[in-house]
């Protein structure tokens, strides 16, 4: 809005149109004096071009790496809500009774006192809720400016768990996954992120996001789409 531009007050005032939301002149990271500068900066980069993964993941000079990783993971968990909302409409407890990606593993939901075989949609919601609690925990992350090394170590397990949401969506709800991925590039960014900061081992990054789907994952893909078709029938019935 004219107002915003002439005064360069970066605000989404009530009445702001969707297209104008967060549409304000970029602010240099060095000029951000807020305690939430890292989040601001990451979101600004994503809004600018969500496909420019390398740029988004490139930490500013002298940025504390723990905080950088933490804020990125917050952003991932936040954006994963989009895929969870989509899954709520498609991934039913009757069809996806377990959290699986390939047939190799059944993932147990860690949100409960004793890990439980939650249906995939519950696993997804619980994992995101649990991540929200952990990442906002006053005990482990009391500050968003400096983070203890012991708390940074917790980020890896959060990454591992939320990654299963990608893998489940990829292997069981491929259309949904592709649609979401095209809108956000989130799985690409996430894969790049955990690889760059060594938060997950390569072997468990099972979504072939950077490979040609037709070649490497062809058989698997066929099988998944079959399963997907079955589910469609179920949901229709």
């Amino acid at each position: 809005m004219a107002d915003v531009e002439c005064r360069t007050e970066r605000r989404n005032r009530p009445g702001t149109k969707t297209v104008e939301y967060y549409r304000w002149p970029e602010e240099l990271f060095e000029e951000m004096d807020s305690t939430l500068a890292v989040q601001q900066y990451i979101q600004q980069l994503i809004r600018k071009d969500f496909t420019a993964i390398d740029e988004i993941l490139k930490a500013p000079d002298s940025q504390d790496e723990g905080v950088w990783k933490y804020e990125h993971l917050r952003q991932f968990c936040m954006e994963l809500n989009g895929i969870a909302v989509k899954l709520q409409n498609e991934c039913h407890p009757e069809s996806c009774t377990q959290m699986t990606a390939t047939d190799q593993w059944i993932f147990l939901c860690a949100a409960h006192k004793t890990p439980k075989e939650c249906p995939a949609i519950d696993y997804t919601r619980h994992t995101l809720d649990g991540a929200a609690c952990l990442l906002n925990s006053n005990k482990y992350f009391p500050s968003r400016i400096s983070i203890k090394e012991s708390s940074v170590a917790k980020l890896g397990s959060v990454c591992r768990r939320v990654y299963r949401i990608f893998s489940h969506a990829y292997f069981h709800h491929r259309n949904l996954f592709d649609e979401f991925e095209n809108e956000t590039f989130l799985c690409r960014r996430f894969t790049e992120f955990v690889t760059k900061y060594n938060l997950m081992s390569k072997e468990i990054l099972i979504v072939p996001i950077f490979e040609e789907v037709d070649t490497s994952g062809f058989i698997g893909h066929a099988a998944e789409s079959e399963a997907y078709g079955r589910m469609e029938k179920l949901s229709e019935g």
């Binding site: 107002d3 005064r7 007050e9 970066r10 605000r11 989404n12 005032r13 009530p14 009445g15 702001t16 149109k17 969707t18 939301y21 304000w24 602010e27 807020s34 305690t35 939430l36 989040q39 601001q40 917050r74 952003q75 968990c77 936040m78 809500n81 989009g82 969870a84 909302v85 709520q88 407890p93 939901c109 949100a111 409960h112 939650c118 249906p119 949609i121 519950d122 919601r125 619980h126 995101l128 809720d129 649990g130 929200a132 609690c133 990442l135 906002n136 925990s137 006053n138 005990k139």
Partner: protein
């Protein structure tokens, strides 16, 4: 080697005398060993006769005893030193506490000032405010009386006897000497336990060390009257009392002058001090009149918290003493002792550790102890230098009684010294109590004030700014809506214990997922069963709120998202619910305001647009006329519509005064007063404005914040207004006189935004704020 040789007994008689001679003379190890060697060379056989061995053993034993006594002396010295240092520490603590108390007093004064200010400014609340100060004044009125009366009665009774005694003593001895003597006594109190050299004396020394405090009590008691005897606690004090008495008895028998002299001097000083104290007491009274509350508080504390005093004294040694002191206190000699103690602490601070020895020596000469210890002179060389004072006296039998007398004197003087420390301890405790008292007052203050809100719950779980929040109508439950595309349900009764901070952390009991873009606004039904949220993507969702006690990790229930209201084509920024029927108003960046009946098959009831006025920013039902609604626009227009006809009824004169503003014309929020025909608007230009709904005229305008005002809420009774701003603060206003009651800095900035929403709980004393820092806070 020795054993076989010692078997030869026949030669004993010869050697025995020899050794016997050696024995007495050879006190030191070196001399005796030398002798032994010599005898070995000269007459190896004679050397080891039984008597000789016995002698030797006796010698050795005597030597060990000597050494042991030396160690005892040293130990006593160090103990005295410890006592001294403890006393000093107490003194420091006392000083600190005094300062703290002073701070508290000032704080309190400030609070009263504020209360007065409130009284003057705010009519209604004032009544609460009014209630408060009176309570205080009552307390003030009562306390001084108590303090004074206790003070006077006790002091009168206890003093008179003491004073009589003291006067007698005073007549005997000059006053000026006393101060010096007291000083020396004080020093001696540091080393006063030295004399306990021999094993016989050990008990005594132990006793006197222990007695330090107890006898201190007795001295204090005699000064203050007979009270102490009855008050001295438990067997310890009993023993000590007896001991001191026996000492006192013995002392007069053998060495009347020194003992009585010592006592006399002490009494003198006390008397002098008391004379001073009289003076001070008067002053104190005067002070009381001046600073009624403070002084009286203190006095109150003294009397009230005696028991506490005793209990709170924690150090093993000092606690005993303190108890005694506390008892004394109950007899209300405290005031005097305080003064005395002050004096003594003064003196104590003068005496330096380094100068111990010197002073001790001078003391002894002063007191003539060196003379009395003649019996032990021969042994003096044995005893290490620092103990040169009265210590030697203890060993010789002749010097023993003399020494006892000295000891009695010393112990009493010692007591005084200890007293000084004790007094400090007392003082420290007194101030501690004061602290407690003051803090209590403050809490009382808060309770009766009930106007200061404090952050109690921090709601952290959102990943991005919290745009809106709404309370449940009855339960301590609220829902928050965030830019992270979720809504969360919070039960304030389900808290997790937070470390250190006073605020409690709450974890959400449910996360509403349905929006794919930031959630901008929120409204909760008056039943508390449903809530509605509007998103940046133009969606409007209706939710069935799950029970507030559900398991956060229960399985997904799709029925929570009941339905979506379709119609808006751009971000939905404002929502308002009819208070009686389930009708919903929504304002959107698409330029329209829509009225919905969410339960109906065709929920959209009507659409209101006013293209010339721009984009609606906020909407509310007119609460005193539910057939109308009020809408604010980003053009600074604000219009009342008739819901039936869809026509504008009144156009509030919001354009005036806003036009010239450089801050922008935007109205960020409009709300309707719950009972009056009054509309309140929050402006980007930092103002809050009040309009009469009937005339549309401006009723009041005020610069309310340092930055854009973003949100408003009126309490259910219509007496208070809550506003939030991008200046990071929320402010509570009294609606009657439009003055700010409280300001709370609540949230941090993200970009140039800080606080998005505020709310009152409809039926409970909660207020809440939601911020761009992804937190929501609840205040009580």
């Amino acid at each position: 080697m020795k054993i076989p040789e010692s078997g030869t007994m026949e030669d004993g008689p010869n050697s025995a005398p020899h050794n016997g001679q050696l024995g007495p003379s050879g006190v030191g190890t070196s001399s005796s060993s030398v002798k032994v060697n010599n005898s070995d060379e000269n007459n190896p056989r004679l050397q080891y006769s039984i008597p000789g061995i016995l002698h030797f053993i006796q010698h050795e034993w005597a030597r060990f005893e000597m050494e042991r006594s030396q160690w005892e002396v040293e130990r006593a010295e160090l103990q005295a030193r410890i006592a001294f240092l403890q006393g000093e520490r107490k003194g420091q603590e006392n000083l600190k506490n005094d300062l703290v108390r002073r701070i508290k007093m000032l704080e309190y004064a400030l609070k009263q000032e504020r209360a007065k200010y409130h009284k003057l400014k705010y009519g209604t609340e004032l009544q609460q405010g009014d209630v408060k100060p009176p309570i205080f004044e009552d307390g003030i009125g009562g306390e001084p009386v108590d303090g004074e009366s206790i003070f006077i009665t006790n002091s009168n009774v206890n003093w008179r006897q003491g004073r009589q005694l003291l006067r007698q003593y005073l007549q005997e001895i000059g006053y000026t000497d006393t101060i010096i003597d007291v000083r020396s006594n004080r020093v001696r109190s540091l080393l006063g336990l030295n004399p306990a050299g021999t094993s016989e004396k050990e008990d005594q020394t132990g006793g006197s060390a222990l007695n330090g405090g107890a006898t201190g009590g007795t001295v204090g008691g005699t000064a203050g009257g007979s009270a102490v005897a009855s008050s001295s606690p438990g067997d310890l004090s009993g023993n000590s009392k007896r001991l001191s008495e026996t000492q006192g008895r013995r002392a007069p028998a053998k060495k009347v002058p020194p003992a009585s002299l010592a006592e006399a001097m002490i009494m003198d000083t006390e008397a002098a001090v008391m004379a001073n104290f009289d003076f001070l007491a008067q002053e104190g009274v005067g002070v009381e009149v001046d600073d009624e509350d403070d002084m009286s508080d203190e006095m109150e504390d003294n009397t009230d918290d005696d028991a506490d005093d005793a209990a709170s004294a924690s150090n093993a040694a000092t606690s005993k003493r303190n108890k005694i002191k506390a008892k004394n206190l109950r007899d209300d000699v405290d005031a005097e002792t305080e003064e005395v103690l002050n004096e003594f602490s003064f003196l104590g601070s003068d005496t330096d550790d380094a100068s111990h020895e010197l002073r001790v020596q001078t003391d002894t000469t002063d007191w003539g102890f060196s003379g009395t210890s003649s019996g032990g002179v021969s042994r003096r060389s044995v005893i290490p230098a620092p103990v040169t004072g009265p210590a030697p006296a203890g060993i010789g039998a002749a010097g023993e009684t003399a020494h006892l007398a000295g000891l009695a004197g010393l112990s009493s003087s010692d007591d005084e010294g200890v007293d000084g420390h004790l007094g400090l301890g007392e003082l420290a405790q007194l101030t501690v109590n004061n602290e407690a008292e003051v803090s209590y007052d403050i809490s009382v203050n808060k309770e009766s004030f009930r106007k200061t809100w404090n952050a109690k719950y921090t709601l952290r779980s959102h990943f991005d700014g919290v745009r809106a929040l709404a309370f449940h109508p009855v339960e301590p439950v609220l829902v928050t809506a965030s830019e992270d595309c979720t809504l969360k349900l919070w039960n304030l009764q389900k808290t997790i214990p937070a470390k250190k901070s006073a605020s409690l952390d709450v974890e959400p009991v449910y996360t509403f997922r349905g929006h794919t873009g930031p959630v901008l606004c929120l409204a909760m039904s008056s039943s508390g069963e449903q809530c509605f949220s509007g998103g940046l993507d133009g969606s409007l969702q209706c939710w069935n709120i799950p029970g507030s006690n559900i398991d956060p990790y229960d399985s997904y229930d799709p029925s929570v998202l009941s339905n979506s209201l379709l119609g808006h084509t751009d971000a939905v920024w404002g929502l308002s619910l009819h208070s009686q029927k389930l009708h919903l108003l929504s304002s959107s960046a698409d330029g329209s305001v829509r009225l919905w009946n969410p339960q109906s098959k065709s929920p959209l009831l009507s659409v209101f647009t006013s293209e010339s006025d721009g984009i609606p920013t906020s909407v509310d039902f007119v609460r005193d006329n539910l057939n109308q609604m009020v809408t604010s626009y980003n053009s600074a227009a604000c219009i009342l519509f008739d819901l039936e006809t869809g026509q504008p009824v009144t156009r509030l004169e919001t354009d005036k005064g806003v036009e010239d503003s450089v801050f922008g014309r935007q109205i960020n929020r409009v709300i309707s007063h719950p009972t009056l025909p009054l509309t309140i608007t929050a402006h980007e230009d930092r103002h809050i404005r009040f309009y009469d709904n009937n005339t549309g005229k401006l009723a009041h305008a005020m610069v309310a914040h340092l930055d854009a005002v973003t949100c408003l809420a009126v309490d259910p009774n219509g007496l208070y207004l809550l506003s939030g701003s991008h200046d990071c603060s929320i402010r509570l206003w009294n609606l009657e006189n439009k003055t700010c009651v409280q300001e709370i800095t609540s949230h941090r900035k993200k970009f140039d935004e800080s606080i998005f929403d505020v709310a009152f709980h409809p039926s409970k004393p909660f207020i809440a704020s939601a911020g761009a820092d992804a937190l929501a806070k609840v205040f009580v």
